[in-house]
């Protein structure tokens, strides 16, 4: 990742220079499309991102999702849309403030402004029909907003989107998004044919008429922008090796499920995990698999456990509240050593919390949620690509270690889109048919290896292997036992599996200075933002580095050694920690963020933490700011 240090994208405000005779060349751009819900902003943005990716740019998308299904029109809480960050180099996160926003009305912009994602200099392409709306209140709101935007230093360019679309369709509300796609294609000198193709692919099922209309709308937008908007940028692309795919994290996880050879996903709908099953519901039969929507989360994991017990290692997908309900069954799976994959797409908590927003708040409950000792494997992908590959690993770990494996992704990875090298599917990933050959009756059902705690398992249908799985304390022979030694032995054997797995893990790679003032420790979806911030800080001479953990249980080895090389260790994550300066809060009372707790248990290093529960993906700018602040404090500067 260190190459990134030489790219301009990494150094904060992106320099751009207008070539005398053409578009401004720039290393990257952050574009948003924001509308009322149901106006298709997301679709337009996804297509735009796909086109950028096809042209060889790095991309990252973030969906802007309102809480209601159909919030009232022109409401701040109703902002619906998408952010697309694209650049010459690989793009790994949502970036900081946007460069350009296309807005279908002025009110939804306030929804975004309250999230603090816009800065002075922002360009806004704004539907201007509101200026002449027949409702006085609307006209006034619009006028007031324009004044306010001006004060904020935004450059507003009014665009008669609806008026233009009306020339082609009587229902412009449904076509505007394509018009916008056309405009953006023009402004960012995209290949219009790519746009037209993309759209014919997307609407293929709706028939040629629909495709044609949408293509005409794209062209209209394209032409309009060329003629009327004096903005033109070029984001060159770096040459790229091999084939790439582009998808979001939930699609990647869904593909991973299929490629892992699992045949059963049992789930209960819950945002932001559900779209994994939406995706799978359509395609899973293609590999002979099945999505079971259960009556609740408890039943879903029970069903998956039943299938796993019967030899068909299964998967369940959920998020916070669902995890809470699965707690008891997860304990059973640990105790009775049932392989199982749990994909946990974290969302904002506690309780129903912020259902559509991001948080990394399910780490502690995933590891420590079940009563009694419940050692299980917990790991977390940090990129879209890892969302795919880690599922395959999860299945393998689950079966090798005969245990549930929790994969922690989050709302940011779930909906973020990014290109990555097209995976080469391996036949060995697809598990062979389950073993039904006779089992040596002399071998007990829990034939624990003394060193690793690992044991093979009999599968129903295997003659000679008949045993009764139970969640009660049991012996090596699978028999219920209440004596002190049996329970102690069982607990030790299950715990030993984590130590055995840990031995196979490598210490995390240090990204940035091999030693220095500050080490940032992160996990999960924050990888891109942290890396970018570190690169930027280093380019300014700060001695900072980062490590990014994948395995959380067991925790990756080698942390002490790495920590020892830095003056200070700072955990950065998206979950709650007490701020330093609050009333009654001091170093003795401060409640730490979740990874910080884990690390303190393991290393007793005095790690500090910096986190928030804003429900937003981390931006590199925020992390950069904290790096500067922390190193400043270390250097004795103002705190």
């Amino acid at each position: 990742m260190t190459e990134a240090s030489s790219t301009p994208a990494a150094s904060g405000r992106r320099p751009s220079q207008r070539t005398p005779s053409g578009p401004v060349r720039t290393a990257e751009q952050i574009v948003e499309i924001v509308s009322d819900s149901g106006e298709g902003a997301q679709k337009a943005g996804q297509s735009f991102a796909a086109i950028c990716a096809q042209m060889g740019n790095g991309i990252w998308t973030v969906e802007i999702i309102p809480a209601e299904i159909k919030p009232p029109a022109r409401s701040r809480a109703g902002a619906s849309g998408i952010r697309v960050r694209f650049g010459s180099d690989r793009v790994t996160n949502m970036g900081d403030s946007a460069d350009l926003v296309v807005a279908f009305n002025e009110q939804v912009l306030y929804g975004r402004i309250s999230q603090d994602v816009y800065d002075e200099g922002l360009v806004i392409l704004l539907e201007n029909k509101w200026a002449t709306d027949r409702r006085e209140v609307v006209r006034r709101e619009y006028a007031e907003a324009l004044e306010d935007f001006d004060r904020r230093g935004y450059n507003v360019i009014g665009v008669p989107m609806e008026e233009e679309c009306l020339k082609l369709t009587p229902t412009p509300r449904l076509g505007k998004n394509m018009f916008v796609l056309g405009m953006l294609s023009a402004i960012y000198t995209r290949d219009i044919d790519l746009a037209l193709n993309e759209i014919s692919r997307v609407f293929a099922r709706k028939g040629p008429k629909v495709v044609e209309l949408n293509q005409r709308l794209i062209r209209a937008g394209y032409d309009y922008a060329k003629e009327n908007i004096d903005l033109s940028f070029e984001v060159l692309s770096a040459p790229r090796e091999g084939k790439q795919v582009v998808m979001n994290g939930n699609q990647a996880a869904g593909l991973g499920v299929m490629a892992s050879g699992m045949e059963m996903v049992a789930m209960y709908p819950i945002t932001p995990a559900t779209s994994i099953s939406h995706y799978l519901a359509g395609v899973f039969p293609g590999v002979g698999g099945c999505v079971h929507q259960a009556e609740d989360e408890i039943s879903a994991i029970g069903f998956a456990i039943g299938a796993s017990y019967a030899g068909k290692t299964a998967c369940t997908v959920t998020s916070g509240p669902g995890l809470a309900l699965k707690t008891e069954f997860i304990g059973l799976a640990v105790m009775a050593e049932i392989p199982l994959v749990i994909i946990l797409v974290q969302r904002g908590g506690p309780s129903t919390g912020l259902p559509t927003k991001v948080e990394q708040g399910e780490l502690m409950p995933a590891i420590f949620g079940s009563p009694g000792d419940d050692p299980k494997i917990v790991f977390a992908p940090a990129t879209i690509e890892e969302c795919f590959h880690f599922v395959i690993t999860a299945r393998k770990l689950a079966e090798t270690f005969r245990t549930p494996v929790v994969l922690l992704t989050d709302a940011n990875l779930a909906t973020g889109m990014q290109p990555f090298p097209r995976p080469e599917v391996k036949e060995e990933w697809l598990a062979p048919p389950i073993d039904q050959s006779p089992w040596d009756p002399e071998v007990p059902p829990y034939d624990w290896d003394e060193e690793s705690g690992i044991s093979p398992r009999p599968i129903p249908g295997q003659r000679g292997g008949e045993y009764v799985l139970t969640g009660l304390a049991h012996t090596r022979g699978g028999k219920v036992a209440y004596d002190p030694e049996s329970n102690q032995t069982g607990c030790e054997m299950r715990s030993r599996k984590l130590a055995a797995l840990r031995r196979t893990l490598k210490p995390p790679e240090v990204s940035g200075d091999p030693e220095g003032d500050l080490l940032i420790v992160g996990w999960g979806s924050t990888l891109g933002a942290i890396d970018e911030a570190v690169v930027r800080a280093r380019s300014e001479g700060l001695r900072v580095a980062s490590i990014h953990l994948r395995f959380l249980s067991p925790l990756e080895p080698g942390l002490d050694d790495i920590f020892a090389r830095f003056t200070k260790v700072l955990v950065v994550e998206i979950n709650y920690s007490d701020p330093h300066n609050a009333p009654y809060i001091d170093e003795n009372t401060r409640r730490f963020s979740q990874l910080a707790k884990l690390i303190r248990i393991r290393t007793r290093y005095d790690v500090d933490c910096w986190s928030n529960v804003h429900g937003q993906p981390l931006s590199p700018g925020l992390v950069y700011g904290e790096i500067v602040r922390q190193i400043g404090a270390l250097k004795g500067a103002e705190r």
Partner: protein, 317 residues
Amino acid sequence: MIGVESDWSSEPPPRYFTLEDYEGGEARWCPGCGDLAVLTAVKRICRDEQLPPEKVVCVSGIGCSSRFPHYMKTYGFHGLHGRALPVACGVRSRRPDLHVWVATGDGDCCSIGAAHWIHAVRYNMNLTVMLFNNEIYGLTKKQTSPTTPQGFATNTHPLGAVLPPLKPVSATLGFTNVSFVAQTVDWNIAHLYATLKKAHEHKGLSFVHILQRCPTFTPGVFDDLQSDPERILLLEHENGIPIDPAVARLYPKKLVHDPLDSNMARILADRVEELPLGLLYCDPDRPGYEEFTGRGIGMGVGEKLEFLNRELDRFTI
């Protein structure tokens, strides 16, 4: 009946199973506990049907009755309180070759597991579900269950259970896609056997409500049913539970009841004067969810790889 299941590898010499082949650990129920009779009946059915022990899976929740799997020498899953049915459905979902018996108590099924009860009945997967109704929480020592008779004193309601008892059969008959509902008693071994056998043969979820004696905590609650044959209404029908002549002699009150008549079934189930014994409802043609969950089980690796590559192509830029 000796036979080789089509999905069982036919190795020579053909195996013949005796009752002992199904004998698990020594049963640890109280003396006189009705659970034992059910265990015996199931073992006999396995033997009579010559089910290979490795192809039999007994799934249960938690409770006295849920200790059932431990006493069978087959595969077993003694899981969580109330959660036998989801697990059993999961087992069947991709393993149509397994014979799945479910043992669940009145607390297990009708209280904590009630949501799964409704939905498993609707999924109608091929399971034999035995509801052991002793009208009490046995394992935890005499707390009120949803089926405890109103006024019966328990440890949580020392002045007597407050509400009228839930009727498992009446409720089940109201669930969509119900396909088999029968009622029997632990103390009539012939009827118990015949009922469970019919249930095992039924393709779909067969729900068998078994009145089960718990001499320890609900002694006497079935006394009148046991002592007064007039309290029993024996259901007869060519599609019903085959009736042993001895059973027929025992119970003078009989009714010819067509198991397809759901309306009559519900009227019978609500009857308080007599307990209808036999098959209340059976519709062999209800859709089964395994049709859906089991699709593609045998798909070859080549086909899968091809599909995966096609699917990846869709995302390729």
